[in-house]
């Protein structure tokens, strides 16, 4: 078995149609999001083309391959071979989009880190919903960075390496500044106020915070990121 070569495609010469018509049916079935009725195929091909013959041929051709041509509810579709289903299960993950609140929180953390929860709430002007920070931490984009050296010693938050990787950034300092957001058209010049929380210096604020003990490793790499 292991020594077997590529799958033999049974080739059955049939005079009923041109090669291009078979290729056309193959491409149409491949690209269509839904199973295709034979009438739909006929509409795209020259009148008189024997679509059924083409479909039967394709079905036979693909029979031994990783993909089969199947008839479902009177329509035709390519489907991966059922014996290979075990391969497909791990293939897809469910994409989920972040809520607006989570995105804004993430953006504020990215720009103002290290930042406390109270500061995030101050910038957003609303209190942080339960679970927003937890979610960002669970995703792995936000981490605890340390404690602010102020009364109450609140925990500060920052972004992770996974955050940089996901957003294609080399370092946090690569995030465009307000001027550049204006330049890229994301922000209107007329609406840009002054820096909200001294963001220009936020990245140098590291000295203000105590690093959480168990987090020392990440902190060091993070520090290297900053120029």
């Amino acid at each position: 078995m292991a020594e077997q070569s590529v799958i033999p495609f049974p080739i059955q010469p049939r005079p009923a149609y041109a090669t291009d018509h078979l290729r056309a049916v193959e491409a149409l079935l491949f690209a269509s999001a839904e199973p295709v009725a034979i009438e739909q195929l006929a509409l795209r091909l020259p009148a008189g083309t024997d679509c059924l013959a083409i479909l039967r041929d394709l079905q036979a051709t693909y029979a031994g391959r990783g993909v089969h041509l199947v008839e479902v509810a009177g329509k035709w579709a390519f489907r991966t071979a059922s014996d290979l289903a075990y391969l497909m299960t791990a293939e897809v993950v469910e994409p989920r989009r972040l809520s607006r609140a989570a995105l804004e929180t993430l953006a504020i953390i990215a720009y103002h880190q290290p930042v406390t929860r109270a500061e995030i709430e101050e910038v957003r002007g609303v209190s942080l919903g339960k679970g927003t920070l937890d979610l960002l931490i669970e995703i792995g984009w936000v981490r605890l960075r340390g404690r602010r050296k102020v009364p109450g010693r609140p925990v500060t938050y920052g972004t992770t390496e996974a955050f940089l990787v996901h957003f294609g950034l080399n370092e946090v300092g690569d995030l465009p500044g307000v001027e550049e957001l204006v330049g890229a058209g994301l922000l209107d010049k007329a609406t840009v106020g002054g820096p909200t929380m001294g963001e220009e210096t936020a990245l140098d604020d590291l000295g203000d915070d105590d690093v959480l003990d168990d987090d020392g490793g990440t902190f060091d790499t993070d520090r290297d990121d900053r120029i």
Binding site: A27, F30, A31, S32, A33, E34, A77, F78, R79, T80, A85, M88, T89, A90, E91, V92, V93, E94, P95, R96, R97, L98, R100, L103, E104, L106, A107, I108, A110, Y111, V123, R124, G125, I139, W141, H166, F167, G168, L169, L175, P176, V178, L181, A184, L186, L187, D188, T191, V192, G193, T196
Partner: protein, 264 residues
């Protein structure tokens, strides 16, 4: 298929509103370099062998013509005109001493290079759009076989992130435009203020005088007047002050009851 479609793309008007571009569109040209490139085409030679002097003269003539037609030219065009006039003089006059910067020929070559580069990028853009593009001429799997697994991949693009931050900044600024909260004097406030001031004044004094520091501010004028009038009626009823008005809509005079009785 794309070959036929790409001219449309080239000719398509920019989707941005005109006000959004910094370019003043002169006969459909996008900036002075674009105009120069178009003028250069009339010479019908390789851009590398173009006569920059002739080009400069054509450009200056164009600018002159626009001026006569009272067309407002964007600053970019005028800066280029000034530079080309300078270049023209450098090309026509004998070469100065070498330490005086690049020669006229060098400047001309630099301009020719910029034109070539812009043209090359345009050609590249056209070639790019003529490629077999996904969703235009070639197609991927229409029905990907997805078996939803419960692991969720959180998706957010950098664009999302930056937009969120930009939106945040906009909101922040929006606060500044909110109407100011109106200052309202409660009756209690007005009464406290009146009592505090009236204790020292025994003679008939117009209400406006008591309130002069508050009436000067337009925001508080109305509320200060209304509330202190109400408060003064209350105080008069309690016998703490006296009120007098000599004519309708005339000034309202107040004096302290205690002040009067103290004087006898």
């Amino acid at each position: 298929m794309t070959g036929a479609a790409s001219p449309d793309l080239w000719d398509a008007p920019p989707p941005e509103a005109p006000s959004e571009t910094l370019v003043v569109d002169v006969d459909g040209f996008e900036g002075p370099l674009d105009l120069l490139l178009d003028l250069a085409r009339t010479q019908k030679v390789d851009l590398a062998r173009i006569s920059v002097l002739a080009l400069a003269e054509q450009y200056l003539a164009f600018v002159e013509r626009s001026r006569l037609q009272r067309l407002e030219l964007a600053g970019d065009y005028l800066v280029m005109a000034a530079w080309l006039a300078y270049l023209k003089s450098r090309l026509l006059l004998p070469e100065p001493a070498p330490e005086e910067g690049p020669s006229g020929e060098e400047l001309a070559a630099a301009l020719a290079f910029r034109l070539q580069r812009l043209q090359a990028m345009r050609a590249a853009a056209a070639k790019l759009m003529e490629r077999d593009r996904l969703g235009r001429t070639v197609f991927g799997r229409g029905a990907p076989e997805t078996r939803i697994e419960r692991r969720s991949a959180w998706q957010a693009t950098l664009y999302d992130l930056l937009s969120a931050y930009a939106a945040q900044r906009r909101q922040k600024v929006g606060v500044a435009y909110q109407p100011k909260r109106r200052v309202v004097w409660s009756l209690v406030d007005a009464r406290a203020i009146l009592q505090r001031m009236i204790g020292r004044i025994a003679d008939w004094t117009p209400l406006e005088v008591f309130l002069s520091p508050y009436l000067a501010v337009a925001d508080t004028r109305r509320t200060a007047l209304a509330s202190s009038f109400g408060a003064s009626l209350e105080l008069a009823k309690e016998g703490r002050i006296e009120l007098r008005q000599t004519m309708a809509f005339g000034p309202l005079y107040l004096r302290s009851e205690t002040g009067r009785s103290a004087r006898g």
